[in-house]
């Protein structure tokens, strides 16, 4: 059921003509993914998915679309002329990965263990403390870079 939401949302994203509709389909896809994470015993990941993807990234993308769209009157053709090759590449990729998944012996099914917030925090701030700190640096760099790039250039320094 959730898989239908994920896959249907993803297909709608790449096929819909109007880009706003694509963005809404993306939100459906991400919401279904959050449900899947909850099913997989990781409610904290599901919460992060809702906060970051549904909350932040979707709103950011919708804003960018609204800022960039002059008008919906004349929608251009959504696809390149290289669609057959792109479809072929995607199908081959999916086929190879699925073949690898089916061929592999994943061992006996085990009961899904719930990821508790305490256990996650305990490893995040001990073993994975360095990636965590590097990530904060990356986010700072991203903020500064985004401000610099999206700023309207002043009169004497056109880029």
């Amino acid at each position: 059921m959730l898989a239908i939401g994920v896959i249907g949302g993803g297909l709608a994203v790449v096929t819909l003509r109007n880009i706003i509709h694509s963005a809404v389909a993306m939100m459906v896809c991400f919401g279904s993914l959050a449900g899947m994470y909850a099913l997989l015993g990781a409610p904290i990941i599901a919460a992060a998915q809702v906060l970051i993807y549904l909350g932040a990234i979707s709103v950011l993308i919708l804003f960018a679309i609204m800022l960039s769209q002059a008008g919906d009157a004349n929608l251009p053709a959504p696809f390149h002329q290289q669609v057959p090759f792109a479809a072929l590449a995607a199908i081959v990729l999916f086929g190879l990965v699925t073949w690898a998944i089916v061929q592999t012996n994943w061992g006996a099914a085990v009961e899904v263990a719930v990821v508790t917030v305490e256990a996650l925090a305990a490893v995040l701030f001990t073993i994975y403390a360095l990636p965590f700190e590097i990530l904060s640096l990356l986010l700072l760099a991203a903020i500064i870079g985004a401000i610099y790039l999206a700023r309207r250039p002043e009169e004497d320094e056109r880029i």
Binding site: F79, L93, F94, V115, I159
Partner: protein, 102 residues
């Protein structure tokens, strides 16, 4: 309870859809959305491995959290770039960005 394989196949399918969209669509913002789809496909496989794998230290969950943060940074800078390009070229279609060819 669905098996690990079913989750992995859904994740592979999501990744393939994202790859197709990235290669086939003409709108720069939609290409960024497709990158997000691919990252989410990988995230799903990581969380599935974390749930079904041997008793672990929750490395899969940690990695998926890190990927989410990196994706947020990536989409921020990417959208800023796209908006800057749209401002100078007046179009979001990547076919029109052919200055280097001419």
């Amino acid at each position: 309870m669905p098996s690990l394989e079913s989750y992995l196949i859904v994740s592979a399918l999501l990744f393939a859809i994202g790859a197709f969209g990235f290669l086939a669509r003409r709108n720069a913002i939609l290409m960024l959305i497709c990158i997000e789809l691919m990252l989410n496909g990988v995230n799903l496989s990581l969380v599935a491995f974390n749930a079904y794998g041997p008793a672990s230290d929750n490395a899969g969950a940690i990695f998926s959290l890190l990927i989410m943060a990196v994706a947020a940074a990536e989409v921020t800078v990417g959208l800023a770039l796209v908006i800057a390009i749209i401002r100078t070229r007046q179009t979001p279609e990547v076919d029109e960005y052919s200055d280097l060819k001419e």
